[in-house]
């Protein structure tokens, strides 16, 4: 039950899809690959899809906040989408949605960020 990570670039948006469990053990690898993606690809905004993430603890919150601050510092946006009820409890308790935007679906998040069409998955 470890973490699987998928990065997809759509125009100037990096989509990060997380699946499985995000705990302290998984954070350093995730942080590194996420940062690499942000620097290698010419992306501005980030969409984090948590649909298939069924566990996260406060170490995961630390990584989310860290990336959020980086994206925000360069004047861009990070949107969370499709969160599961299990992970949502943690986000609600920590007040994460007072700072990060949450939307229902990845396609809507992309639309908000001005990505034209997302028929191709």
């Amino acid at each position: 039950m470890s973490l699987r990570v998928e990065f997809v670039t759509k125009e100037n948006v990096l989509v990060v899809r997380l699946e499985g469990e995000l705990d302290h053990h998984e954070t350093s690898k995730l942080r590194e690959s996420w940062r690499d993606q942000l620097h290698q690809n010419d992306v501005d905004h980030v969409v984090v899809n948590l649909e298939k993430l069924n566990f996260m603890d406060s170490s995961g919150l630390g990584v989310m906040l860290g990336r959020y601050k980086e994206v925000q510092a360069s004047g861009n946006e990070m949107i969370i989408c499709s969160i599961s009820p299990e992970v949502r409890r943690l986000f609600d308790l920590s007040g994460m949605f007072k700072i990060m935007r949450l939307v229902g679906s990845e396609s809507y998040a992309l639309e908000l960020l001005g990505v034209a069409s997302c028929e191709m998955k």
Binding site: H24, F55, S58, S59, G62, L65
Partner: protein, 146 residues
Amino acid sequence: MRNEMTLEFLSVSENESLARVAVAAFISQLNPTMEELTDIKTVVSEAVTNAIIHGYEENPHQKVMLSCAIDGEQIEIIIKDEGKGISNIEEAKEPLFTSKPEWERSGMGFTIMENFMDKVDVTSEPDIGTTIRMMKQLTSTRALCN
């Protein structure tokens, strides 16, 4: 019914998932709801991670002790390390407080434990170690009996 288990493991981060899966499997005999199970897994993950990164400062040769007891629908979880200890427990418990901001810690561990459990006792002494004792009464099974 009363039941009890203990688990001792090396302070390596691979064991964070082991600890929460073991506790989840052990308490599943009480038929917890999804939400209760997630809460328990989260607090175990928080306390074990703290023992590894704060208590033992990632020294992989130390041991973390975990025990879990159930009595009726009452769950007691104890997680213990013989590491660095906490000098100011009140400060450590404050939301967002972390002694390791450079590691991207959120400082929400204790806040999560206190919110997801009914009771959290912290016993700690510098250079002796830290013991976290957490209690939670399940409500699901009781509702079924009524």
